[in-house]
């Protein structure tokens, strides 16, 4: 019944509903950021002293662990900017926390895989694109971090600091300020932070729903739907599609129709993820702009440039070797159940170690 109604709905009604939902998500996202910012200050002693987030290494661990636990990267990245704006974190620490958020973003893939493995389907996990996504990020980020720290310590991007326009946020503020006052009256200041985090999470989730479902018709693509693309073509496609969807997982899901059987070639998946990893920061960049904090904008730009530089270096100098390296890791993880358990343990233990000893 509801399906029939959905199908018979004129396109302009669907478009208007999606646009309305997207606008609502933007308002919700801005409100969430302001709540995070307002609620962050009381958390400063907790984050600094109890969680020991007082260095880039511990901020990296904190971001990583937070993304592991919340099963999502973008809300953690937005939170790191709010913490930067509230002077709880320095710019370098915020950068490290955003990097951590990406390292833990695809942890959900391993959790699902673990469930399948416990059901006796261990090889299934090794053969899914989510694990490749996690591995691409984890193998590239040591270099990304090094390059980002180098850029930030030399202040190379400071001269191009983008000032977020107050004009952009002003109309939104007139809408949001009354809501903020309501939240402030109803909740203690410290509670604004977790509520803000939940609202960021919800707004991003809802925004994914607002994105139109793009269907590539397999028949229309002919040979392209099965064949191997040049890595640079897929890399650009990954960057372009993700800049529209702002989420690597949503962007990857658009590839489903490229194969009737829900499978995609390794040769295509790896460069696609590499491209997607750059433009997935667009929502974080929007968050930085909405906070009207030039340091936050710089931090996100440094991250995007560092990921882009490392990706392009890999593409230009050793893409085939990198591809084989990743394939080797995937095969290793899929070979024995204990390999996968060990890997899950490591990616949970490393952020802990960074947080405690960093």
């Amino acid at each position: 019944m509801s399906d029939n109604r959905k199908r018979s709905r004129p396109w302009y009604v669907s478009a208007a509903l999606r646009l309305g939902l997207a606008l609502f998500c933007i308002v919700l996202f801005v409100l969430a950021l302001i709540l995070l910012k307002e609620g962050a200050k009381p958390f400063a002693p907790l984050i600094r002293n109890q969680f020991s987030v007082d260095s880039p290494a511990s901020a990296l661990g904190f971001g990583w662990l937070s993304a592991n636990l919340t099963l999502s990267g973008s809300p953690v990245a937005a939170t790191s900017l709010a913490l930067l704006d509230a002077n709880v974190l320095s710019a370098v620490e915020s950068f490290a926390m955003i990097a951590g958020s990406r390292l833990g973003a695809a942890f959900v893939v391993l959790l699902i895989g673990l469930v399948y493995m416990l059901r006796g389907k261990q090889r299934v996990l090794s053969l899914n694109v989510g694990l490749l996504s996690l591995l691409v990020t984890q193998t590239m980020y040591p270099l990304v971090l090094a390059l980002g720290f180098f850029f930030m310590s030399n202040g190379w991007l400071d001269r191009w600091q983008v000032q977020a326009s107050q004009d952009v946020s002003s109309p939104l503020e007139t809408l949001i300020n009354p809501l903020l006052i309501v939240f402030q009256e109803l909740l203690p200041t410290w509670a604004l932070f977790p509520v803000g985090f939940l609202l960021v999470l919800s707004s991003l989730w809802l925004f994914d729903k607002a994105i139109p479902e793009i269907h590539f018709e397999e028949a229309g693509l002919g040979l392209l739907s099965h064949a191997l693309y040049r890595p640079v073509v897929v890399f650009l496609a990954g960057a372009l599609v993700t800049s529209l969807t702002m989420s690597v997982s949503v962007s990857l899901s658009l590839l489903v129709p490229l194969s009737v059987r829900g499978i995609i070639r390794r040769e295509n998946a790896i460069p696609y993820i590499m491209g997607a990893n750059i433009t997935t920061f667009i929502d974080t960049l929007v968050a930085a702009a909405l906070l009207a904090n030039s340091s936050a904008v710089t931090v996100v730009l440094v991250m995007m440039i560092s990921v882009a530089v490392v990706s392009l270096l890999v593409m230009a100098l050793g893409f085939r070797q990198y591809e084989c390296f990743l394939d080797g890791i995937v095969n290793f993880l899929g070979r024995r159940r204990r390999h996968l358990v060990g890997y899950i343990f490591v990616i949970f233990a490393v952020p802990f170690v960074l947080l405690i000893f960093g």
Partner: protein, 276 residues
Amino acid sequence: MEILICTDGSPAAEAAAALLTRLGNSAGGQLTLLGVCENEAEEAALRASMDRMASILGPGWAGVKQHVRHGHPVEQILAETQGQAYDLVVMGSSGQQRGLRLLNLGSTSSKLARKIHTHLLVARTVPTTLQKILVCTGAEIPSVETMRRAGTLLQGTTAEVNLLHVMSQVALKPDNAPSDLFDTAKTAIDRQTREGQHLQSAMQQLQAAGLTSPIVPLLRHGLVVEQVLDELNKGHYDLLVVGAHHQPGQNRWLEILLDDVADRLLNHAPCSVLIV
């Protein structure tokens, strides 16, 4: 069959002539030996090499012509193939690299493979007898024609022929990995999956084209080029047969978008390569 053997006077080119005789089906065809040198001083040595090649090829040919051109090898070979319709171009892989390998400008054979509009046989480490041949199929529409032509070119061979398809797919989600991703050639054929049906039909096309040797289907999982190279190394093959990147009538944009697997295999295969 019109065959062109290209030589720069190197031992590799002479090995190419030997490889042609070991394919078994070419005797009786029209043969042209094309020598290419960059200056006239090299011509005497080149002609001596061409005479040696003629004796390697033996007397079974309907006619053997010798022809020398001066200039850049790739340009001269292309000019020759444009002037006359050849069914097969044969050359040795001498390891002479012209251009930057890093930028994939590649060897003479690599450049020719990208530009030539006929089948290309590149000889490398030629054995005394051809014992094992690996035929690769991409399970796509152009591979139907590849199988038909490969079968025709290999119809005189008595070597063992293995037919390989590589599945490089991964599941988009952990909950929708189809069992096809774990298939062997046998299970794929038994279950009549898309790959199983393709392997079966490719074997039929090879046999229909005249290949009399028994054909063993193989299905591997992983990165396409790496899996083919691994099979070549582990199976000690003497010849690899792959489809050309450039297909007649293929959309030029499609050609630009698609990865040139044939070129990568040509550059890295440890044995001779036939691009059809």
